[in-house]
Symmetry: none
Subunit: 187 residues, 2 copies
């Protein structure tokens, strides 16, 4: 099922499909066709830089919406390539625009956008911390160690080795507890 607030939209107008690895959802310059919600797929938004090199703009980890800004543009501003196979919804622009006639949808949609901005500000704040130990500590306090250490390390831009070493330091400092292998929690 499509996550909130998009479940408030008429499901018949949403296009669900399974995208295999390597699928190009859209290319830079293509006429916009709506925004997307990935249920299980990973998608990379990328652009070709001045030197012809690949510039990653954003990597979509499911479930997440992306290309929201395309609603307000004539053409896509980057490429979107499927990294790992999974299910994706496409929401045509007209469906979103119609949705805004419903104040409830407008508020619900704005809420998740606001929350995203909040979350990104938190991540940016954490990534601004130079020390690996303090960065990991801030991330754990912020509740980012909700899945695996590998996942955390990627989200805060540290190698997994540095993250494990920071966790061990925090445990030895008594700032974290390590009840079992791979499990950490605040005292």
């Amino acid at each position: 099922m499509i996550p909130a607030p998009f479940d408030m939209l008429p499901s018949k107008r949403l296009k669900q499909f399974t995208a295999v690895k390597g699928t190009v959802l859209f290319r830079e310059g293509d006429p916009t066709d709506g925004m997307f919600v990935s249920l299980t797929a990973a998608v990379r938004m990328e652009r070709i830089g001045p030197d012809g090199e690949l510039v990653t703009i954003h990597t979509v980890e499911s479930p997440q919406s992306f290309a929201e800004a395309s609603i307000f543009a004539d053409r896509y501003h980057c490429d979107a390539v499927v990294l790992t196979e999974g299910d994706i919804f496409r929401i045509p622009t007209s469906v979103i625009l119609d949705g805004f006639t419903d104040p409830e949808f407008s508020i619900a949609y704005n809420r998740i956008m606001s929350r995203q901005v909040q979350a990104y500000r938190q991540i940016v704040e954490i990534m601004s911390i130079r020390s690996a130990v303090e960065r990991v500590y801030a991330a754990v306090v912020a509740g980012l160690l909700d899945t695996s250490v590998m996942n955390l390390s990627q989200r805060i831009a540290l190698t997994h080795e540095a993250t494990y070493r920071a966790l061990r330091t925090l445990v030895s400092q008594g700032r974290l507890e390590n009840p079992s292998r791979g499990k950490y929690k605040l005292p």
Copy 2:
């Protein structure tokens, strides 16, 4: 005049005032009082890190809205300090919520939120680049060198020295041009 889309709101319900440098609009933990739109003031959203150091979350360049997420929160999640004197609007939460009954406002407001999310995703991606040279290059390509090098270095979590050295390296590699002191542009 207040910029779009907030000019669509009833102007009598908006609170305009002039804030002098150093004014604290709100502090982390204060009960929310609505969101803000800066007309001519520069405002820094900041938070005090674990070690007591200043962490810039976002620098508001006028005219721009900020603290949008406070509409859905009980309390502010950071401090807002005026950097340069100027006029600011405060928009009470109820005014925004009423605004969502107007589809035109909902769409216009969602547009700027989408842009913000887009910008944050890009920043996070750039901050994930380990090499200072490549990180600075990606930031310049993304158009983040719009004000000063000092400003850029803070936004991408590098010291200004490292940023200057990276810029010099990029110039020597021919990937950037340095027409005059402190000015850089793509070839």
